[in-house]
C-alpha cells in the first residue's frame, strides 16, 4: 500500500528518465537527505560525529567507488586501499606545495592522481579476469605502500613518515568542529552518490554492466572492452581517491601509510559484498555494517555483561567482537548472498502489497 506506483503516469521522456521514477522513492530519499543535513546535527553528540558518522560517510564514499568497479563492472580489485592512499598523499602534496590551494581542489586533485594510478593498474584487467585480476591489483597495494614509505618527496621529507594537515577552510568557512566536518563529508558523499547513480544509468554504466555480465557478448554487440574497463577503473579510483583524501584530511588529520594498508582494501571489498554488489544503496549499507557494528559490539557487550552481572575483560570483549562480527558476516552471506541492498528491495516489494499479500 505504501509503495504502490499505480496512478503514477509518465507523460514525457523527462519524467521517464528521472533518477527515482517512483514518487515514494523520491520523497524517501529527499527526506533522508534533509534529515542527514538538518535532523542529524540536532540529534547526535560529538562522539557520534567523530567516531561513527564521519568515518561512515567517508568509507561509504570509498565503498561507492569500489562498487562501481567491482559491482558494476565486475573487475575485482584488492588495490582500493592503495588508491585511497594515492588520493590522500597527492591531495596533501598539492595542498602544501601550492600556495593558496583551495581545499576542495586539493582533494579533487588527489582523486585525479588516483585516477591515473587506477588506470595504470587497471591495464592488466584487459588480459586477466576474476581472481587473477584481484591478485594483479594487489601489486598496486604493495607498490603504493612501498612508495609512500620510501620516497621522501611524498611525505615532504618528514622524519617519521607521518604527515598531517590542519586549518581546513573552504571559501572562508573553516572546517573545524565535528559538525562542520560532518557536513563537509556529507556534501561530498551526496554529490558523488548522485553522480554515480546517474553514471550507472547512462550508456557508460550499461557498458560496464554488459562487460560484467559477459564480456565476450558485450564486445560482439559493439562495446569496447578496453574503454569500458579502463573507464570503470578511472571513475572508481577517482571516487576512492577523494575518499582517501577526506580520510586523511578530515577524519585522521595526521596519517601514515598504515592507515591505507591492505586491511583497508579488504574492508572496502567486504563492504561491497555485504552491502550488495552493483547497488549504490548497498555501498551505504555495507559501510554502515562494517564500520558501525564492531564499535557497537565493543560497547554493547560490556553492557550486556553488566546486565547479567559478569565483568568481561577488555581482551575478551575484543575477541568476542571479532567472533560475533565474523559469524554475522557468514550468516548474512548465507541468508542473503546478494547483500543488504537485496533486503532493502525485498522490503520494498513487500510494502507494495501490504497489507494484502497474496
Amino acid at each position: 500500500m505504501f509503495y504502490r506506483e499505480n496512478g503514477q503516469f509518465k507523460t514525457s521522456y523527462r519524467a521517464d528518465q528521472q533518477i527515482f521514477p517512483i514518487a515514494q522513492d523520491r520523497w524517501v530519499i529527499l527526506t533522508f537527505i534533509a534529515f542527514a543535513f538538518i535532523g542529524v546535527p540536532l540529534l547526535v553528540d560529538e562522539y557520534m560525529f567523530r567516531a561513527i558518522l564521519i568515518p561512515f560517510l567517508i568509507l561509504a564514499l570509498a565503498a561507492l567507488g569500489v562498487n562501481i568497479l567491482v559491482g558494476y563492472c565486475g573487475q575485482i580489485s584488492l588495490g582500493s586501499g592503495a588508491f585511497m592512499a594515492v588520493g590522500a598523499y597527492m591531495a596533501y602534496n598539492t595542498y602544501i606545495r601550492i600556495d593558496g590551494m583551495p581545499l576542495i581542489v586539493a582533494l579533487l586533485s588527489g582523486g585525479f592522481f588516483a585516477t591515473l594510478v587506477g588506470i595504470f593498474f587497471g591495464i592488466p584487467s584487459l588480459r586477466v579476469k576474476g581472481l587473477y585480476l584481484a591478485v594483479a591489483t594487489l601489486a598496486a597495494q604493495f607498490f603504493c605502500d612501498w612508495a609512500f614509505l620510501r620516497i621522501g618527496w611524498f611525505t615532504n621529507n618528514t622524519s617519521s613518515g607521518s604527515v598531517s594537515v590542519s586549518n581546513l577552510a573552504v571559501l572562508g568557512w573553516t572546517i573545524d568542529t565535528p559538525l562542520e566536518k560532518y557536513l563537509f563529508c556529507l556534501g561530498f558523499l551526496v554529490v558523488f552518490a548522485l553522480l554515480a547513480k546517474n553514471l550507472v544509468r547512462s550508456a557508460i554504466g550499461r557498458e560496464w554492466m554488459a562487460i560484467r555480465d559477459m564480456d565476450v557478448a558485450a564486445s560482439v554487440i559493439g562495446i569496447r572492452p578496453m574503454y569500458a574497463k579502463l573507464s570503470a577503473f578511472a571513475v572508481s579510483s577517482f571516487i576512492i581517491g577523494v575518499a582517501g583524501g577526506l580520510w586523511g584530511f578530515v577524519h585522521l588529520g595526521s596519517w601514515e601509510p598504515a592507515a591505507f594498508s591492505i586491511d583497508r582494501s579488504f574492508q572496502l571489498l567486504f563492504m561491497v559484498i555485504i552491502g550488495g554488489m552493483g547497488s549504490i544503496m548497498g555501498s551505504f549499507f555495507g559501510a554502515a555494517f562494517i564500520v558501525v557494528l564492531p564499535i557497537f559490539l565493543n560497547q554493547f557487550l560490556p553492557a550486556l555483561g553488566a546486565l547479567v552481572g559478569v565483568e568481561i575483560s577488555t581482551a575478551a570483549i575484543s575477541h568476542t567482537e571479532f567472533m560475533v562480527f565474523g559469524a554475522l558476516i557468514v550468516w548474512f552471506l548465507i541468508v542473503e548472498p546478494h547483500g543488504l541492498a537485496k533486503l532493502w528491495s525485498i522490503a520494498k516489494q513487500k510494502l507494495r502489497l501490504w497489507p494484502f499479500p497474496h
Binding site: R50, P55, S160, S261, F296, A303, H319
Partner: protein, 445 residues
C-alpha cells in the same frame, strides 16, 4: 521466516537494552578523577601491550588503595585499540567526555599519538607519551598539550651512541665503524633516524637503514644484508613479535647478540623469553627503569592489590619491564594531577586543562619518588613550559639468559645535539600549522 523474525526481535531488544544501560552509567559517576586507558590486549602487539596495560591499571588501583589523590578517588576505563590508529581515535572520542571528562590520554602508539596531537588542543586534554611519541613534542613552546615525559626516541638513539662510543673507548673511535638500524617501518621506527644521521655525520660512522614491515616477522632479507655487510653494531627499533624474530634471525645468521642494542620497547621479557639462551648478551637501552621486582612499589602492589585478589594479570608479571613501564606511566599521570591540585585546590577533581598545568609543572624530586615506592627505579623528573620531557636518563641492561641485568651507568641525552634538533623540528611543525610560539604569559596560565 521464523529465523529472521527472531533475529530482528533480538537485535531490537539488544538496541533497547544497550541504550538503557549506557545512559545511567554516564550519570552515576561523580567526584572521581577519570583516567581513560587505551590498551591493546589483542592483535600483533598484544604480548607487549598486555603487561603494560596491567601495570597501568594496577597502579590506578593502588592509588585508590592509598586513599586517592589527596582524597580524590580515581576511576578508569579501558578501551581496546589493537594498535590501529582509527580504532585509537574512536576510543579517544568515546572516552574523552565520559565520567566528567578525561584527565589525560596515553595513546601507547606513535601512530595514534600523531593523530591525537591534532585533536588534543581542541579538546583541551593533555597527552602523555612517556618514552615514545613524536620527539619534537619535547618543545613545550609549540606542543602545548604533548608531554613525552622522561624520554623520546631521540634520547634513546643519542644515549645508545654514547654508550657504544664509551664501549669503543671514545667517540673518536667510532670513525669508520658500521652501524645498522633495523627498524619497524612506521613512524615509531623512523623517529630515531634524523638523530642517528646527525651523529653519523659528527663521528664519521656509516649508518645503514634496514626497514622491517609490520608486524615484523619477515626479516630474512634484512638479516641477509647484515650477514653481507657485517656491521659493527645493530640497533633494533622493534616492537612486539619483531624483537624475538630479530633475535632468532641474529642467532641463525651468527650475528653476536652482544653487539645488538634495542630501544626501550625492544628489551622486555616477552621479547627474549622465547629465544631463551639464544638471546643471551642482548642489550637494550632503558628509559629510567628496567625490571624491578625488588622495588617498593612492586611489593606494595603484590600485597595491597594482588594480595586481595584484585590484581590485573598474573602475579609473576609484577615488576617485569613492561609492567613497570605501565606503572610508571600511570604514576606520571597521577602525579601531574597532584601537582595541579597544589595550585587549583587540594581534594578537587581536576579538569584536563588544569591537569595540563600539573604536567607542565611536574617536579618529582628523588624524595617524592622514594615516597611513592620508586626508589632506585627512576631518577627525578621536572618539567617546565619549554621542556615537556623533564628528564632524559637512561641505562643499558643486558639479558643474561634468565633475567635482565644493568650493564651501564646512568646516561643522559646530549642537550647540545638534541635541543637544536627539537627546536628546528618544532618550528617546522609550527610553520606548517601556522602556530605561533607560546609567550611567557601563556606559560603562566
Amino acid at each position: 521466516m521464523k529465523l529472521r523474525n527472531l533475529v530482528l526481535s533480538v537485535s531490537i531488544a539488544c538496541a533497547g537494552v544497550s541504550a538503557a544501560l549506557v545512559a545511567p552509567s554516564a550519570m552515576a559517576q561523580a567526584k572521581e578523577q577519570f583516567f581513560p586507558v587505551l590498551v591493546y590486549r589483542t592483535g600483533a602487539y598484544a604480548p607487549n601491550g598486555v603487561p603494560f596495560a596491567n601495570g597501568y591499571v594496577d597502579y590506578l588501583k593502588l592509588v585508590n588503595e592509598r586513599g586517592g589523590i589527596n582524597g580524590v578517588k580515581v576511576s578508569f576505563e579501558e578501551c581496546e585499540t589493537g594498535y590501529a590508529t582509527d580504532r585509537g581515535v574512536e576510543c579517544y572520542e568515546r572516552l574523552k567526555g565520559k565520567n566528567g571528562g578525561a584527565t589525560v590520554f596515553q595513546p601507547l602508539s606513535t601512530g595514534i599519538t600523531f593523530a591525537l596531537t591534532e585533536k588534543a588542543p581542541g579538546d583541551k586534554i593533555p597527552l602523555i607519551t612517556a618514552g615514545y611519541g613524536r620527539s619534537e613534542s619535547a618543545d613545550g613552546g609549540v606542543f602545548k598539550w604533548n608531554f613525552p615525559l622522561s624520554g623520546t626516541y631521540w634520547v634513546a638513539a643519542d644515549t645508545l651512541i654514547q654508550h657504544i662510543a664509551k664501549k669503543e673507548g671514545g667517540s673518536d673511535k667510532l670513525k669508520g665503524k658500521k652501524i645498522a638500524l633495523v627498524y619497524h617501518d612506521s613512524p615509531f621506527g623512523k623517529e630515531p633516524i634524523p638523530l642517528l644521521q646527525e651523529r653519523a655525520a659528527m663521528h664519521g660512522f656509516t649508518l645503514s637503514l634496514l626497514p622491517v614491515t609490520h608486524p615484523g616477522v619477515e626479516q630474512k632479507a634484512t638479516w641477509l644484508q647484515i650477514r653481507q655487510n657485517r656491521p659493527d653494531y645493530v640497533l633494533n627499533w622493534g616492537w612486539g613479535v619483531m624483537n624475538s624474530t630479530a633475535l632468532k634471525e641474529a642467532q641463525a645468521t651468527g650475528y653476536p647478540r652482544e653487539k645488538m642494542y634495542g630501544v626501550w620497547w625492544a628489551g622486555a621479557e616477552p621479547d627474549v623469553k622465547d629465544v631463551g639462551a639464544g638471546a643471551k648478551g642482548y642489550n637494550a637501552i632503558m628509559m629510567q627503569h628496567g625490571a624491578e621486582p625488588e622495588a617498593a612499589v612492586a611489593k606494595e602492589i603484590l600485597t595491597k592489590i594482588h594480595g586481595k585478589g584484585q590484581g590485573t594479570g598474573p602475579k609473576e608479571e609484577v615488576g617485569q619491564v613492561l609492567y613497570m613501564r605501565g606503572l610508571q606511566a600511570a604514576m606520571l599521570a597521577v602525579e601531574g594531577v597532584r601537582a595541579a591540585q597544589d595550585r587549583y585546590g587540594k581534594g578537587k577533581v581536576m579538569t584536563g586543562e588544569q591537569a595540563r598545568w600539573g604536567y607542565e609543572n611536574l617536579n618529582l624530586t628523588q624524595a617524592k619518588l622514594d615516597a611513592l615506592g620508586f626508589k632506585g627505579v627512576m631518577r627525578p623528573i621536572s618539567t617546565s613550559c619549554q621542556d615537556h620531557m623533564g628528564a632524559s636518563w637512561a641505562r643499558v641492561h643486558t639479558w643474561n639468559g634468565s633475567k635482565f641485568e644493568w650493564t651501564s651507568d646512568w646516561l643522559q641525552g646530549d642537550e647540545q645535539i638534541i635541543r637544536p634538533m627539537v627546536k628546528a623540528a618544532a618550528d617546522k611543525y609550527a610553520a606548517e600549522k601556522k602556530l605561533t610560539r607560546r609567550t611567557g604569559a601563556d606559560c603562566q596560565s
